[in-house]
Amino acid sequence: MDRITVRVENLNKRFRVFHEPPLTFQKALYNLLRGPKNWKQLWALRDINFSLTKSESVGLIGPNASGKTTLLRIIASIYTPTSGRVYVDGKIAAFLELGYGFHMEFTGIENLYLYGAVFGLSRCQIKEKIPLVREFSGLNDFLDVPLRQYSIGMRMRLAFALAMNINPDILLIDEALAVGDLSFKEKCIRKINELKKEGKTLLLVSQYMDEIERLCDRAILLDKGEIMAMGSAKDVISEYKRRYKI
C-alpha cells in the first residue's frame, strides 16, 4: 500500500447563503434591530471520508453544485471546514478557475511572474520555468504581448502550462481541460499521466467522463454534498450515468 498523502475525515461544511446582496454596515445595523436571519444555512458537504495515496489519480464527479469545488478548496486550505479534519502530506497546488485573475494590460511573461508568485514560486524559479511554459503552451512570441490580445483559449493555455510546471506533490485540478484545442488537450493528458508516474497525487474534477476514464484509477461521485459512490472509475461513472439516466 502506498503512502497516504491526503486524508479527509468526517468533513462537514456549512455555508451561509445570503438571499440579498452582500452585507453592509447599514444592513448589519438593521439586522441588529430586527434580529438577523436574512441568510439560510446550506450544508455544502456532509460527512465526507476518503483518502488518496501517492501516485494515485482520482476523479471527482457529480452534477453542478454538488460540492466538488468546495471540497477542493477545503483540501487546499482556502476554506476552513465547519467540522472534521483534513490531513495533507506534501506540497499542494490547487488549479481552480485557471486563467482568471490575470492582468489584462500585462504581457504573458509579466503575468507569469505574478501568477507564479501566487502559487508560491520565487522569481528565479519562475525565470527557469519560462522556457518550459513557452514550449508547453505553444504561445511562443505571444508571451510578450499584453493579455488583452489573447483569446480565452490562449489565456487558459498560459495558465495551464504554468500549472503543469509548478511541480507540487499533490495536484487539485478543477475542470481545467475543458478548453484548448484537441492537440493541446492530448498534450495535457500526456503530461498528467507523466506526473502520475512521477508519484504525484491527483484529484481531478471534470464533467467529461472520457477524461476521467482515461486519467483516473478511482472516482468519487458527489451529490448534494454527500458521497454517493466511491470505487473504480468505471463503476462510479456507470453509477453516475444510471442515477441521472444519461
Partner: protein
C-alpha cells in the same frame, strides 16, 4: 501573532510580485507616471494656496511651501488607505483559488504608496534646498515620523481591506471619514491655530501629531513635540496590533464571502 508575521515573511516573493504589479499599474511603464501621481497633491496645494493667500489671508509666511510639507504625508495616508480598502476584493480570483496570507495584498499596496511617498519627499527636499534651506540635523527626525506613519497606515489598511469584504459599504463610510478627517488635521493650518483648550484633542490623534511633526521639522526647522510624538508612537503600536488581531480573526471567512 508571531506565527502570522512569519507566514507573511515566507510569502515575501509574492509581496514583491504584487508590488511590481502595483508600480507598473501606477506608473503605466512611463516616467510621466511619477508626474501624474504628483498632480493630485499639487493641485490641492494650488487650490489652498490661492484661497488662503489671495482670498483669505491666513498669515503663515511661505504658505505654499508649508502646504507642500503637510500635504505629502496626508496624501500617503489618504491614497494608501483608499487603495487598500478595495484591494482584497479586487484580487478575488487569487484569494478564492489559492491559499496565501491575504494581508499580503494590502501590505503590497501600502509599500507601493510608501515608496511613492519617499519619492515625493525627495522632491520636497530638493525644493527646500533650492529655496535656500540647508541640510539640517533635525531632518533625522523624519525617518522616525515615517516609521510611525507607515505602521499607522498599514494597520488601518489591512483592517479595512478585510472588513470591506464583509461590509460592502465600508468604502463609502471611509471616504466620508477621510474627508472629515482632512479638515480636523493640521494640513491647511498649523496646530497653533487651534484654541489652546481644544488642542489636546488634536494631539490625541496620531496622524495630526505626525503631520504637525513634518511641518515643524521641514518647514519651521524646530524639533517636533517629543512628548506627543512618543505618545503617538505608542498609540500606533496599539492600533496596529488591534487591527492585525481583528484581521486574523476574520481572515478565515474572507474567501467564502468574496
Amino acid at each position: 501573532m508571531i506565527k502570522a508575521i512569519k507566514t507573511i515573511f515566507e510569502y515575501r516573493q509574492l509581496i514583491f510580485a504584487l508590488m511590481v504589479r502595483g508600480f507598473k499599474e501606477k506608473y503605466k511603464n512611463s516616467f510621466l507616471g511619477i508626474f501624474w501621481s504628483l498632480l493630485n497633491p499639487l493641485l490641492n496645494v494650488l487650490i489652498f494656496a490661492f484661497i488662503f493667500t489671495v482670498i483669505i489671508k491666513i498669515g503663515i509666511k511661505n504658505y505654499p511651501l508649508y502646504l507642500l510639507c503637510t500635504i505629502f504625508p496626508w496624501n500617503f495616508f489618504h491614497t494608501a488607505l483608499t487603495n487598500s480598502v478595495v484591494s482584497i476584493l479586487e484580487d478575488v480570483y487569487f484569494v478564492k483559488n489559492t491559499s496565501f496570507p491575504n494581508e499580503a495584498i494590502p501590505l503590497a499596496v501600502v509599500i507601493v504608496n510608501f515608496i511613492n511617498f519617499l519619492i515625493d519627499l525627495l522632491i520636497l527636499f530638493c525644493i527646500l534646498l533650492l529655496l535656500g534651506k540647508s541640510i539640517n540635523a533635525l531632518w533625522l527626525y523624519v525617518p522616525f515620523l515615517l516609521i510611525i506613519e507607515f505602521f499607522l497606515v498599514l494597520g488601518l489598511s489591512v483592517l479595512s481591506a478585510g472588513l470591506y469584504v464583509i461590509f460592502r459599504d465600508l468604502n463609502f463610510i471611509l471616504n466620508l471619514i477621510l474627508r472629515l478627517f482632512f479638515y480636523f488635521i493640521p494640513v491647511i493650518y498649523t496646530i497653533e491655530f487651534v484654541p489652546r483648550n481644544l488642542r489636546f484633542i488634536y494631539q490625541l490623534n496620531p496622524l495630526a501629531v505626525i503631520i504637525d511633526g513634518f511641518a515643524k521639522v521641514l518647514f519651521y526647522g524646530v524639533a517636533p513635540d517629543l512628548k506627543w510624538t512618543i505618545f503617538a508612537f505608542l498609540e500606533v503600536i496599539v492600533i496596529f496590533l488591534i487591527s492585525f488581531k481583528i484581521f486574523q480573526r476574520i481572515k478565515k471567512i474572507i474567501p467564502e464571502r468574496l
